[in-house]
């Protein structure tokens, strides 16, 4: 591996995105949870849920701040590190990028209002209504920015003539084949991960001995949401796999180590590859890749050998794919078991092993987001614009990428550590029970 501008630009972009998506995912998902909690709290006149919404919102401000600044960073880095790409793509996908900033603007305004008007309106529903523009804004940003990423995977709506984009159709570029499945998958996984992270916090608090109404209600609400969103995630994942099989077969083939085009193709779980690309130690599900690709064991799945060697993605993305899917099913199972145990009186849903698994599922879900994005992004290598422009042609020719990489690495380290410290302190200093008594003296 040579550390030239291209490699360093890739590393810096990956690092920024890997850091940003943690906060972006929280930014898209948590407003939904805050909104649900506040709505239930008002409808049932239940101070526990109202306090839940308040405390989540308070922590949320910290993550939003880091999300905003890292989002600004990636926005600028696109032009700084990939100027040739942006010169071409800027002509085709400026529209969704522009709309994304509008959505962000909209969200920023109403989040500011929401956070500072808790006790300002006579009718409590007026304050709740403010969560709607925040949710619309955050989910719409995710939608628009995902169309840009989809465009890079399945570009359309332009022709490339001697390095210049001509005959541009902005709408076609935005609504490219990858857009629906990607947007659906991004949104559902964000909601699921945010719910799982909040559930993990509640479960952890209960394990530490805090077993009041507040924690129990928090856990029940977040677990039900996690369950619903994980089902939607599974559906979205299935749609995505079918999309890949049809429109981007090399990505699916690399993920599944599927070399020969065939019907009744096997699904490979984990395993290893030797130097001759022979698969060892795998769990083989006969025919299931065909089933995944087209809901029938007869579906023909295109293999990697159909593609020239210099246009194949690296084979290690198989592990990313497997880990992502496994975690998805783990979270689905854990939330399902919790709900069952909660419903059937005979079981104690607050048993230690289950609480442990719920606590684990939060960070795991976030890891799955990372793995999923690594899979999606590395899976379209060597292309930056699939079929049009390779990554190596798009990187900056400027010097100093190495230096900026180090500076940003330090920045993210500091921000990451401080963010955790500040969040922990914030809630340790004001325990829920104390705050409940202060705000709602007669519950």
């Amino acid at each position: 591996m040579e550390l030239d501008s291209v490699m360093l630009s890739r590393m810096l972009t990956s690092m920024t995105l890997a850091f940003h998506i943690i906060f972006a995912t929280i930014g898209v998902g948590v407003p939904i949870m805050i909104s649900i909690a506040e709505f239930i709290g008002i409808k049932r006149n239940d101070p526990y849920y109202l306090l839940l919404a308040r405390r989540w919102a308070r922590g949320f401000t910290i993550t939003v701040a880091v999300g905003v600044v890292t989002g600004t960073a990636i926005g600028l880095q696109l032009s700084l590190l990939w100027p040739s790409f942006m010169e071409v793509a800027g002509q085709v996908i400026a529209l969704p990028l522009f709309m994304e900033t509008f959505a962000f603007f909209f969200e920023a305004i109403f989040l500011g209002i929401y956070l500072y008007t808790w006790d300002r309106f006579k009718n409590r529903m007026t304050h709740w209504v403010l969560t709607i523009p925040v949710m619309i804004g955050s989910s719409a940003s995710a939608l628009f920015i995902t169309t840009v990423n989809s465009f890079m995977n399945t570009p359309q709506g332009f022709e490339l003539k001697s390095g210049k984009a001509v005959n541009i159709d902005p709408i076609a570029a935005m609504f490219n084949p990858a857009t629906p499945s990607k947007v659906f998958h991004v949104l559902t996984t964000s909601y699921m991960t945010a719910a799982a992270v909040l559930a993990a916090i509640a479960a952890f608090a209960i394990m530490k001995g805090k077993r009041s109404q507040y924690e129990r209600k928090a856990l029940r609400l977040t677990m039900i949401c996690t369950f619903i969103f994980s089902i939607l995630t599974a559906v979205a994942g299935d749609i995505s796999a079918k999309f890949l099989a049809e429109k981007q077969p090399e990505k699916l083939a690399a993920a599944e180590w599927h070399f020969e085009t065939e019907k009744n193709a096997d699904l490979i779980l984990f395993g290893t590859l030797d130097e001759n690309n022979e698969i060892k130690n795998e769990i083989r599900l006969p025919g299931f890749l065909s089933f995944l690709a087209g809901s029938s064991f007869d579906t023909k799945v295109i293999g990697l050998n159909e593609f020239p060697e210099d246009e194949r993605p690296p084979l290690w993305i198989h592990y990313m794919f497997d880990l992502m899917v496994s975690i998805g099913f783990f979270v689905l199972a854990v939330s399902g078991i919790y709900i069952l145990m909660d419903k059937i009186k005979r079981f104690n849903e607050l048993n230690k092993p289950l609480l442990w698994m719920i606590t684990a599922s939060g960070p795991l879900a976030m890891l799955a987001i990372e793995f999923g994005w690594i899979y999606a992004e590395v899976g379209r290598q060597p292309w930056i614009l699939r079929g049009y422009m390779k990554v190596s042609e798009a990187a900056t020719t400027g010097d100093g990428v190495g230096l900026t990489f180090i500076l940003f690495a330090l920045l993210y380290l500091v921000l990451g550590v401080l963010c955790v410290i500040v969040l922990i302190r914030m809630f340790k200093n004001t325990p829920a029970e104390a705050e409940l008594e202060k705000r709602f003296p007669n519950p």
Binding site: A65, P83, D399, G400
Partner: protein, 339 residues
């Protein structure tokens, strides 16, 4: 008006908007830190934080808006500026990141952490300096373009009197704009103590602002005579208007009357100067490589962007109005009576 002129005007207006709201924010951070170390924080810091908390995120969007917009309307700027600004741009991002997150850490997390407040205050002065390099580069002379390779001449930038005069102007104007606004805000809050301090800041930074502006003119004549000629021959009246507004603003602040009008005068002062500068800069966006009409994106995309822009404004203007009504014009909130 043709599309490219409309595009650049819209973008320039947004940059102007950022200049005003960001200056208030950057300066406020500096004053808050200064207030803390000189033990005047009990007088001004609550006031500053009441204004900043709900709006800091919105400030940031103005900036994002500008750079996304310029890449959309004029994609070749991405190529030239992107390559040239790798280092200064990255430094600006890092400073913005430190500032934004430490603001939140300090304000929502550990209240009154002196280190957080220092980072927040100091970056407020460094960011305008680092962002202004983009404007400096646009005057030409700091890039070497050979075929496909664009090289940034960092040494030229660091030794150029013009670039330093722009840096000086950006820093003092931040302090002046911010102090003028906060004086008005303190006046609205009926907070005599804060008003007295902030008024002093405003008067203190008023002469350097005009001095630095003159310095920029003088050094521009050396650096880019073509631009200078155009500015003084065609647009001299805009700079004259700017000077008039400046004098009225300073006078009103001095006699302690009509602080609101005074701030509007400050806004107009910078409006005329900024648009006079921008108009005389045309047709070049980046002298001499990027020219307005040659670099505009294709017509379909430009049309789409304009339509989205208008729709977006229909959404944003009422929302911004609501934000200002709740936090800027609500006397009870400003006075700290509402949470």
């Amino acid at each position: 008006m043709n599309l490219e002129l409309l595009g650049i005007t819209v973008l320039w207006t947004f940059l102007y908007g950022y200049l005003i709201v960001a200056s208030i924010d950057f300066g406020a951070g500096f004053f808050a830190y200064y207030g803390k170390i000189t033990k005047k924080d009990h007088l001004i810091n609550d006031l500053i934080s009441r204004y900043l908390s709900p709006v800091w995120e919105v400030t940031n969007v103005f900036f994002v808006f500008f750079f996304v917009g310029i890449v959309g309307f004029f994609p070749s700027t991405a190529y030239y500026f992107g390559t040239a600004l790798l280092i200064p741009g990255s430094i600006a991002i890092i400073l913005l990141a430190i500032r934004g997150s430490f603001y939140a850490f300090n304000n929502y997390g550990s209240k009154n952490n002196i280190v957080y407040l220092f980072l927040y205050g100091a970056t407020g002065l460094l960011i305008p300096a680092s962002l202004s390099t983009a404007l400096t580069i646009s005057e030409g002379g700091f890039l070497n373009v050979e075929g496909n390779k664009v090289t940034f001449l960092a040494k030229e930038l660091f030794t150029s009197p013009y670039s330093w005069s722009v840096v000086a102007l950006s820093i003092v104007s931040v302090l002046f704009i911010s102090a003028a606004f906060l004086t008005y805000y303190a006046d609205r809050a009926n907070d005599r103590g804060a008003r007295a301090i902030l008024r002093k800041f405003a008067l203190l930074w008023s002469p350097p602002t005009i001095l630095a502006s003159l310095l920029v003119f003088v050094s521009l004549r050396e650096h880019n005579p073509e631009h200078f000629q155009k500015a003084v021959s065609e647009y001299w009246w805009m700079f004259a208007m700017s000077l008039v507004c400046f004098m009225m603003a300073s006078y009103l602040i001095y006699i302690r009357k009509h602080f609101g009008t005074a701030f509007i005068m400050v806004m107009l002062q910078f409006f005329f100067a900024f648009f006079g500068y921008g108009a005389s800069h045309l047709p070049y966006i980046l002298y001499p490589h990027v020219i307005l009409h040659e670099s505009v994106t294709n017509e379909t995309m430009a049309m789409a962007l304009v339509i989205v822009f208008i729709l977006g404004l229909l959404l944003l203007i009422p929302s911004l109005y609501l934000l200002m009504k709740l936090f800027l014009f609500d006397a009870d909130y400003i006075k700290g009576k509402k949470q």
